[in-house]
C-alpha cells in the first residue's frame, strides 16, 4: 500500500490557505474549469462596463454605405443591413444582457428568498397556499411563462426584467424553503430560542445566512438561464426593443434572410450568448461542487 503524502493531500483540500490571494489560487487549482468560467464572466462584466472604451463606432448609428459589410479592418465583425457595426453592438449588447440577467436574478431571488423564508418559518395555511401557487407557476415551462408575462406587460427593458424575474421566484422559494425547514431543527436555533431571541431575529441572523450557499449556487445557474431567456424573448420580438442592442434581437433581424449572404450576422451574436452562458455554467458547476456538494449534478 502506498504511503499518503499528507501535506499534499491537505494542500489539495485547501488547508493552508492563509490569504484571499491564497484562496483564489486554491480555487484555480482545484476547479480549473470553474476558474475559466470565472474569467469568462469577468470579461463579460468588464466589456459591459467599459463598452465605450472598447469600441470605436456608436452601436446605434446607421451607415447605409456600409450595409452588410464583410468583417474587415474597419469593421472587425462586419456590419448589419443598416450599416451598424456588429462588434460595437455585441459589446454594448453585453450591457443589456448583464442588466437584464442581473436585474431579473436579483429581483427574482429577493422575492423568492422572502417567500421561502416566510413559508418555511410560518408554515400553516400561508405555507400551503404559497406552495400551491408556486407549484402552479412551475408547471409551465420558464420560457412560456416569460413569454406570457412579456406579452402582457409590453416590450421594454424594465418589463423584460420583470417578465423573467417572476417565473424565477418559485425555483428560488422552494430551495430556500427546504433549507429553512431543515435549519429550523438545528440545535443552534433551539438554543437561540431558549435564550429568548425573537423568531424574526433568529430568522434573519441565524437561518438566512446559512441558506446563502445553496442560494449562490442557484443564482449562478439562474444567470445563464436568464441570459438565454432574454435572448429568446428578444428573438421572438417580445423582449428588449429598439434601440437597445440585444444579442437575441440581432439574431432575429438577421434570421433566414441573411443566412446565405451575411453569415457573420448569425455567427457572432450567437457566439457571444453561448460563450457567456458557458462561462456562467462552468462557474456555477464549480461553485456548486465547492459550496453545496449535495446538489451535485
Amino acid at each position: 500500500m502506498s504511503t499518503l503524502d499528507f501535506n499534499a493531500e491537505l494542500a489539495a483540500a485547501g488547508a493552508n490557505v492563509r490569504s484571499r490571494w491564497g484562496a483564489v489560487r486554491f480555487f484555480i487549482r482545484r476547479y480549473p474549469l470553474g476558474a475559466i468560467g470565472g474569467v469568462i464572466m469577468a470579461v463579460f462584466v468588464l466589456a459591459a462596463i467599459f463598452a465605450p472604451l472598447l469600441t470605436v463606432y456608436d452601436p446605434l448609428s446607421t451607415n447605409a454605405a456600409a450595409s452588410l459589410a464583410k468583417p474587415s479592418a474597419a469593421h472587425w465583425l462586419g456590419c448589419d443591413f443598416m450599416g451598424r457595426d456588429v462588434y460595437s453592438r455585441i459589446v454594448y449588447g453585453a450591457r443589456i444582457s448583464l442588466a437584464v440577467s442581473l436585474g431579473s436574478m436579483l429581483l427574482g431571488s429577493s422575492i423568492g428568498v422572502t417567500l421561502g423564508l416566510l413559508s418555511g418559518y410560518l408554515l400553516g395555511w400561508f405555507d400551503l397556499i404559497t406552495q400551491r401557487v408556486l407549484e402552479m407557476m412551475q408547471s409551465l415551462p420558464l420560457l412560456v411563462m416569460a413569454i406570457i408575462m412579456a406579452a402582457a406587460l409590453g416590450p421594454s427593458l424594465h418589463n423584460t426584467i420583470l417578465a423573467i424575474a417572476i417565473p424565477l421566484v418559485p425555483y428560488v422559494a422552494r430551495v430556500i424553503r427546504a433549507n429553512t425547514l431543515s435549519l429550523r431543527e438545528q440545535p443552534f436555533v433551539e438554543a437561540a430560542k431558549a435564550i429568548g431571541m425573537s423568531e424574526r431575529r433568529i430568522a434573519l441572523r441565524h437561518v438566512l445566512p446559512n441558506t446563502l450557499a445553496p442560494l449562490i449556487v442557484l443564482a449562478t445557474a439562474q444567470l445563464g438561464s436568464t441570459i438565454l431567456t432574454e435572448s429568446s424573448l428578444s428573438f421572438l420580438g417580445l423582449g428588449v426593443p429598439e434601440p437597445h442592442p440585444s444579442w437575441g434581437r440581432m439574431l432575429s433581424e438577421s434570421a433566414a434572410e441573411y443566412v446565405r449572404t451575411a453569415p457573420w450576422l448569425v455567427i457572432f451574436p450567437g457566439l457571444a450568448i453561448s460563450f457567456v452562458v458557458f462561462g456562467t455554467n462552468l462557474l456555477g458547476d464549480a461553485l456548486r461542487d465547492l459550496l453545496d456538494p449535495r446538489q451535485r449534478s
Binding site: 408547471s139 409551465l140 413569454i147 406579452a151 409590453g154 429568446s232 439574431l251 450567437g270 453561448s274
Partner: protein
C-alpha cells in the same frame, strides 16, 4: 397505491384550475385589448363602433364572467372563436398538434438515445479525459440558444444544399417524413440530450457510490455486470422523472425552433397569437401546454410509483 393515485389526480386538477386563473389574469393585465388593436390598424376610433365590437367579442363583461364563459366553454369542448381568423379556435389548434407532437417525439427519442448512453459512459469513466470532454460538450450544448443552433443548421444546409429545409404538408413516404422532421428535431434534441446526459451522469454517480455496488465488486462480479445490471437499473429510476422535466424543457425549445424553421406547429402558433393579442387563442394554447406538461408529469409519477418498489409497497 390507489389512494396515492387518486390524491395525485386531484392535485393535478387543482393545479390546472389554478393555472387557468393565472393565465386569464395575466393576459388581462395589459392595457388595451383586441378592440384597440383592430382600431389601431384602422387609425380612427369611433367610440360607438368600439363599444359595439367589444360587446360582440364579450369584452365588456366583467372579468369573472369572462372567465366563467371561457371555462364553461372549455369543458364543453368549445374553445371560442379566434379573433384573428374568426374561425373556431379548436379548428385552428387541432391540425397543428400532430406536427408539434411528431417533432417532440423525435427530439425526445434523440435526446434519450444519445443522452443516456453518454451519461453512463461519462459516469463510469469519471474524471478521465473522455469524461471531461463529454462534460464540456454537454455544457456547451446547454449554453447554446436553441434558435441559434437552428440558424446554424440552416446555414449549413444552405451552404451544402443551396436551399433551406422546407416544411411541406404532403411529404412523400415515411422516411421522407422522418427526414423532414429530423433536422429541426436535431436542433431541439441536441440541448435536451445535453441535459439528459448530465442528469444521467449524476444519477449514475450517485448509485455507483452506494455500498451494494462495492459489495458486488468485492464479490468478484465483472465490471460490466456491475455497471449495467446493478447500477444502471437503479440509476434509471430518477432518469424517468427527468423525462418529465425534459417535456417542459423541450416545449420551450420547440417554440423558437418552429419559428426558425417555419414549421406550422402549436408552439409557433402561440407566438403568433400573442403578437395578435388574440386572447382566446393564447389562453387555449397555454392551457393546452399546461395540460400536456401536467399530464406528462402525472404519468411519470405513476410510472415511477409502479417501478420503484419503495413507493409501490407503501409509504
Amino acid at each position: 397505491m390507489g389512494a396515492y393515485l387518486v390524491r395525485r389526480f386531484g392535485l393535478m386538477l387543482v393545479t390546472l384550475f389554478g393555472i387557468s386563473v393565472l393565465i386569464f389574469v395575466l393576459l388581462r393585465l395589459t392595457p388595451g385589448n383586441i378592440a384597440d388593436i383592430l382600431f389601431d390598424a384602422g387609425g380612427y376610433v369611433d367610440p360607438a363602433d368600439k363599444a359595439r365590437i367589444e360587446h360582440q367579442l364579450g369584452l365588456d363583461k366583467s372579468i369573472p364572467l369572462q372567465y366563467a364563459d371561457w371555462i364553461g366553454g372549455l369543458l364543453h369542448g368549445d374553445l371560442g372563436i379566434s379573433y384573428q381568423t374568426e374561425k373556431p379556435a379548436l379548428e385552428e389548434i387541432l391540425p397543428r398538434i400532430p406536427i408539434t407532437a411528431r417533432l417532440a417525439a423525435i427530439a425526445l427519442s434523440f435526446s434519450i438515445l444519445i443522452g443516456v448512453p453518454l451519461g453512463v459512459i461519462s459516469a463510469v469513466r469519471q474524471n478521465t479525459i473522455l469524461d471531461y470532454f463529454l462534460r464540456v460538450l454537454s455544457l456547451s450544448g446547454l449554453s447554446m440558444p436553441a434558435f441559434w443552433l437552428g440558424l446554424l443548421i440552416l446555414m449549413v444546409f444552405v451552404a451544402e444544399f443551396g436551399t433551406i429545409p422546407i416544411y411541406s404538408d404532403q411529404p412523400t413516404g415515411f422516411w421522407n417524413t422522418i427526414l423532414m422532421y429530423s433536422v429541426p428535431a436535431a436542433a431541439v434534441g441536441f440541448r435536451s440530450s445535453a441535459l439528459m446526459m448530465r442528469l444521467t451522469r449524476s444519477s449514475m454517480l450517485e448509485v455507483l457510490r452506494q455500498d451494494y455496488i462495492r459489495t458486488a465488486r468485492s464479490k468478484g462480479a465483472p465490471e460490466h455486470k456491475i455497471n449495467y445490471y446493478h447500477a444502471l437499473r437503479n440509476a434509471l429510476l430518477p432518469v424517468i422523472t427527468v423525462i418529465g422535466i425534459e417535456a417542459a424543457f423541450l416545449l420551450g425549445g420547440l417554440i423558437v425552433t418552429e419559428t426558425v424553421f417555419n414549421i406550422p406547429g402549436v408552439a409557433r402558433f402561440l407566438v403568433e397569437a400573442i403578437r395578435w393579442r388574440d386572447y382566446p387563442m393564447v389562453q387555449n394554447l397555454v392551457m393546452f401546454i399546461a395540460i400536456v406538461v401536467v399530464t406528462i408529469n402525472f404519468a411519470i409519477d405513476m410510472l415511477y410509483a409502479a417501478v420503484d418498489p419503495r413507493i409501490k409497497y407503501g409509504n
